[in-house]
């Protein structure tokens, strides 16, 4: 909401400075977005008189002027304006001044070989109007040498951000009321003396949609003369950022901006029969004043006559019945539209307007008559004409809200001690009627106030929010208690464990291009109905696609080695249509695992075992029982089928998948070279049982452990993990570890077979092993292995 200081002063008697006013605005909740001071824009421009004008020696259309600036010798100025002539009083921009319209900094320069000490300016160059046919001509008695800003009258413009709960401050008068309440002057009363109608209104007005338009008031003014509105009105509209259009239109806009009261003026000559507020009929369209056509539906309220729709009620007038220069008779419309209806219609049509902004927030239902009288007076004053009697269809919802207030609530909720007299004063200054029993009647222009806390807010914001003293929250005795849930502890621990393992945490978008999401989705990707772009459209079903794209961007930028991880949610569509969000950790390893080196030779890429190492290590940090995990197939189509796996706790519970990228996925994500990936499904990691701090009792065994190696020849297809598990389980009392340390196939090993060597660690408990004990254990190991088709290698 923009308005000039002089406009504000038309509603507020005040001597406060611009700075005081701005500070008060901020303090009472009318946030100052900016203050435009035209004096700053016009710095360096002065009132000056042309003394002589002579043809330019080198150019037909230019003249060489001598200009009196009131001080010192006259300046020589080259000018191309046809109206430049001796005796003209105009505006000279001197060297150093910046032309507002184009940002050009003036300097002393030769124009076609003749020195020019500045520029005589047009209205358009100073952003004072559209006129660019010649330079500004001021009255002959304008004081030569005065700063033009002072001559013209500096009128700073405030730009306020009005919160959506304050429709009353979408008019200058309401803003002035707030300032007055805050002690910055006194509010000038509105003079809405009725203009007596001299004849019955010739147009019948009806409302056939009492729900959308409970009240529709109007009157006709005959014999108006439309045309440009007077300068003061144009200046005020311009300060509000509005373009003056014509006197009739400007008058309606003025009433809206000054009092927050939208109104409309129809060209009576273009109306046919009775004018009514009614629901739109299916298929009806309205060509609005913005030149666009809108298809209406029966949920929308319109203003129509016998010929058809003229106006999208409360949002925008129609092109057909708008006022033009030739308009002589007008019908004024002042109506009350239901906020919910206006909001719904505006949303459906995707049409915003100043009127909609006010109606949907709620205009004062008690201000229809006053608004109509103000508008009538303004039009008659500016355009002449003769007003009819007022006609009224329907009734606005006038029932005033009453709030039972307890002034002690200001302290209890607002934390601010304000004495009751001051509270009463503040509420009264804002227009609330406060009864002796503190029953507060809410004025019609404050639809936002409906309870006691709202009144606390009014008192606190006017008395001074910054005067609220800080009060410490009560603190529990002793040291602060831990707050993290088990899931939060695991997430934090995992994040730092991954970083400690050399992985860089990334945060990637929750939404992906549809194709990328589909590539990783089990079913259809879950799409946004209104994505901001095609690249951010489908919810990620996995953390891997986002990380793969990040890896590609890095590789494209020349990165050699990438170890990226992310902890976040993958988003699945639950059976009931609700969200099923699961905490997930993704890792992508791409590029070089080790760079070429003086000791290590060629660069090495990542392989599936790097992925497995991350999966196992991070699952262990997450508290998963990693010793019990089985490696199985089924990582998914995005993985290399022979170099990927899942880690499962039992056949169903998949805790992680890992492995190398499938070449088709690599192609889809435009990645070259080997890429390893891991995805941990943290939602599947079983929660640890709550335990105390004490560990299970333990003392290191006094007897030394014994190591024995076993080399087996096994079928080539046997999974090494199965052999190791069998070996480890062969004698649980003695075997504490079994580790595979050699894999060999080739010379000395039969075709179709391979040799696996396992180091077994045996821990004696009570007494050292005798030779016979070791032999018995070895026997059990060999037997267990034999059940998998393994024979001891000779």
């Amino acid at each position: 909401m923009k308005f000039s200081l002089s406009w504000l002063k038309a509603h507020l008697d005040t001597t406060a400075s611009v700075e005081e006013i701005a500070a008060t605005f901020n303090a009472i909740g009318l946030e100052v977005e900016g203050i435009e001071n035209p004096a700053e824009k016009l710095a360096g421009f002065r009132v000056a008189r042309v003394l002589t004008a002579a043809p330019h020696p080198n150019a037909d259309k230019l003249q060489v002027l001598t200009v009196d600036t009131g001080t010192g010798d006259p300046l020589q100025v080259v000018c191309g304006a046809p109206n430049a002539r001796a005796g003209l009083v105009g505006v000279l921009g001197q060297a150093g001044a910046t032309v507002p319209a184009n940002g050009m900094v003036l300097k002393v320069a030769a124009v076609r070989g003749v020195e020019s000490n500045g520029m005589m300016c047009s209205s358009r160059e100073l952003e004072l109007g559209d006129d660019h046919d010649g330079i500004i001509e001021l009255p002959a008695d304008a004081p030569i040498g005065t700063a033009f800003a002072d001559y013209r009258g500096a009128d700073p413009v405030f730009d306020l951000s009005i919160t959506p709960n304050r429709p009353d401050c979408m008019g200058v008068h309401g803003i002035a009321r707030d300032l007055a309440a805050a002690g910055l002057g006194s509010l000038k009363a509105i003079d809405a003396t009725p203009v007596a109608g001299s004849y019955p209104c010739p147009v019948e007005i009806r409302t056939e949609d009492a729900e959308g338009c409970p009240a529709f008031f109007g009157r006709v003014i005959r014999g108006v003369k439309n045309g440009p509105s007077p300068q003061w009105l144009q200046d005020r509209l311009k300060s509000a950022g509005q373009r003056p259009i014509s006197a009739l239109v400007d008058c309606t806009n003025y009433v809206m901006l000054a009092y927050g009261r939208p109104a409309h003026a129809y060209d009576l000559a273009r109306l046919t029969g009775a004018v009514s507020a009614r629901r739109a009929r299916a298929g009806e369209v309205c060509l609005a004043l913005n030149g666009k056509e809108y298809a209406l539906d029966p949920g929308m309220t319109v203003i129509a006559d016998q010929a058809g729709v003229h106006d999208i009620a409360g949002i925008m007038g129609g092109e057909h019945s708008g006022c033009t220069d030739g308009t002589t008779d007008v019908l004024l419309e002042i109506a009350y539209f239901t906020p919910e209806r206006i909001a719904a219609t505006g949303r459906a049509l995707n049409l915003t307007s100043d009127a909609r902004a006010r109606f949907e927030r709620g205009v004062d239902p008690a201000f229809l008559d006053a608004g109509l009288e103000l508008l009538t007076r303004l039009i008659i004053d500016i355009c002449g004409g003769e007003a009819s009697e007022v006609v009224r269809a329907g009734q606005p919802p006038l029932a005033a809200k009453r709030v039972a207030f307890d002034p002690a609530l200001t302290q209890r909720l607002g934390g601010l001690a304000v004495d009751e007299g001051e509270q009463r004063r503040i509420l009264a200054a804002l227009g609330f009627a406060v009864g002796d029993d503190w029953t507060v009647t809410v004025p019609g222009w404050r639809p936002d106030v409906d309870g006691a806390p709202d009144l606390v807010e009014e008192v606190v914001r006017i008395h001074g929010l910054n005067r609220v003293p800080g009060v410490a929250l009560p603190r529990a005795d002793g040291v602060a208690r831990p707050t993290a849930t088990p899931a939060q502890r695991i997430e934090r621990r995992l994040r730092r464990a991954a970083a400690a393992r050399g992985l860089n945490e990334a945060i990637t978008w929750s939404f992906l291009p549809e194709a990328e999401a589909a590539h990783f989705a089990d079913g259809d990707a879950w799409l946004l109905a209104n994505p901001i772009s095609e690249d951010l459209k489908a919810m990620r079903p996995s953390l891997l696609p986002g990380l793969l794209s990040a890896a590609r961007r890095n590789l494209d930028r020349g990165a050699d080695s990438l170890r990226l991880f992310e902890i976040g949610r993958r988003y699945l569509r639950g059976a009931d249509g609700r969200s099923d969000e699961r905490l997930t950790l993704g890792v992508v390893l791409a590029g070089e695992k080790t760079p070429r080196g003086w000791a290590t030779g060629k660069a090495q890429g990542f392989d599936a075992f790097d992925a497995k190492a991350e999966a196992m290590a991070l699952l262990a940090e997450a508290g998963a029982p990693v010793d019990n995990l089985m490696v199985m197939d089924g990582a998914g189509a995005q993985f290399h089928p022979g170099q990927s796996g899942t880690l499962r706790l039992g056949p169903k519970a998949v805790l992680a998948r890992f492995g190398m990228l499938h070449p088709a996925t690599a192609r889809a994500f435009d990645l070259d070279g080997p890429v390893a990936m891991v995805e941990l499904f943290l939602d599947m990691v079983p929660a640890k049982k709550a335990a105390g701090f004490a560990r299970a009792a333990y003392s290191p065994p006094p007897l030394q452990a014994v190591r024995r190696d076993f080399a087996f020849v096994v079928p080539a297809a046997l999974a090494a993990g199965d052999l190791v598990r069998a070996v480890k389980g062969a004698d649980k009392a003695n075997i504490v570890a079994a580790r595979l340390f050699d894999l060999f196939a080739g010379a000395g090993v039969p075709e179709g077979m391979k040799s696996l060597a396992v180091e077994v660690t045996l821990q004696p408990v009570d007494k050292s092993y005798a030779e016979a004990d070791l032999k018995a254990i070895a026997e059990r190991i060999t037997q267990a292995a034999a059940r998998l088709g393994a024979t001891l290698r000779g």
Binding site: A27, I28, L413, G415, L465, V468, L503, N530, D576
Partner: protein, 367 residues
């Protein structure tokens, strides 16, 4: 026999031995089974007692002297050999050692950990909720009914789905729905202090807005909680977060549907080398105010939607951008870079695994 001459000559020979092999040959020559000194020792048995008394000590002294000379020469030769080996084993330690990759924690995660640490001290737990929400939790329960203009201002991402209750399915536009879930979880019977950090979404994208960003919500419900508690909490939090005592807040009345009264909170900053440094009074020369937090006393309708009796309970809530806090504290200037995964950026602005925020060590990590 001149044992002394023999000793001198032997010691000279030993000193002249230039290898362990030569030394061994000398040892065998003197002290071996057939060695010259061994032979002398054997003569002792055939001597008369007088002669043995005279020659015995000399022969033993000769043997002793030669043994000592052999041992010391051996040690010297071994030391020389070790020195030579070590000299030969010298390597160029200016060659690079194997490099272990340096991992990092994203600044947003780091700041969330910092927030959890600070607020834990004030008794706030960390709460979470779904990011794909329904219209009731995201809007209606927060006092934004269907027709509310603020609802349209939220630039909401929608799905085409509806819940079983016919509610819109949408990406949450703020962390505030977690307030509702946290309140309802207590059954409206207990005081509550939570923060709720997480991802939020708005259909907005320009130089300073991304369609996904992070917010942290704070909520306190209790009996007798008022605006003064809100002010103290925000001041205390910001002082702890920025680790400076000159944090000055400017409270401005504002409007949010879910709070009443509503308070916009500006924080004073100083312009320093093109950067905004939080601290100081925004009205002082070289200073300014920036909007940082939205807050207010929880609206009665919201308390009721959360299952609390608004006549008994009062509370405050606040919300602030986590990315924004990270930028202000650690000096990043481009929000878009947060979500690009550029390893150069992650390495520069990220945090080491061991930079765990603690109250005793300071929650912030010094550059």
């Amino acid at each position: 026999m001149d044992y002394e001459a023999e000793r001198v000559s032997a010691e000279a020979a030993i000193a002249g031995a230039d290898s362990l092999d030569a030394l061994e040959a000398l040892r065998v020559g003197y002290l071996g089974k057939a060695g010259s000194i061994s032979a002398l020792l054997k003569t002792l048995g055939g001597m008369s007692p007088d002669q043995r008394a005279a020659d015995g000590p000399r022969i033993h002294a000769l043997r002793e002297g030669v043994s000592t000379a052999l041992a010391s020469r051996k040690a010297a030769l071994e030391q020389a050999a070790l020195d030579a080996r070590l000299a030969a084993e010298r390597i160029d330690l200016t060659l690079p050692a194997p490099q272990v990759p340096r991992g990092s924690v994203h600044p947003v995660s780091q700041v969330m950990d910092e927030l959890a640490e600070i607020f834990a001290d004030l008794g706030f737990a960390v709460a979470t909720g779904p990011e794909i929400e329904d219209g009731w939790h995201n809007f209606t329960a927060l006092n934004m009914p269907e027709s509310h203009p603020a609802r349209a201002m939220h630039d909401t991402f929608y799905f085409s789905d509806k819940t079983a209750e016919g509610e819109d399915v949408l990406l949450r536009t703020h962390t505030s729905p977690v307030q509702i879930r946290a309140m309802r979880a207590t059954g409206g019977t207990q005081p509550l202090r939570i923060i709720a950090p997480g991802r939020v979404y708005r259909s907005d994208s320009d130089a300073t807005h991304t369609p996904m960003f992070h917010q942290v919500e704070g909520l306190v419900i209790g009996e007798g909680i008022h605006l003064g508690h809100l002010k103290w909490t925000l001041e205390t939090f910001l002082k702890a977060f920025f680790e400076r005592d000159d944090i000055v807040l400017r409270l401005r009345p504002s409007y949010f549907p879910f709070t009443e009264p509503s308070v916009e909170v500006d924080v004073g900053y100083a312009n320093s080398g093109g950067r905004r440094v939080v601290g100081g009074n925004g009205d002082d020369p070289g200073h300014g105010w920036m909007e940082l937090l939205g807050s207010g006393m929880v609206n009665r309708h919201v308390l009721a939607a959360g299952g609390y009796d608004p006549d008994q309970w009062q509370g405050f809530a606040f919300g602030v951008g986590v990315d924004r806090l990270a930028m202000l504290k650690y000096g990043m200037n481009d929000l878009r870079a947060f979500f690009d995964g550029d390893v150069r950026w992650l390495g520069h602005y990220g945090f080491a695994a061991l930079d765990v925020p603690t109250l005793s060590g300071g929650v912030g990590t010094v550059a």
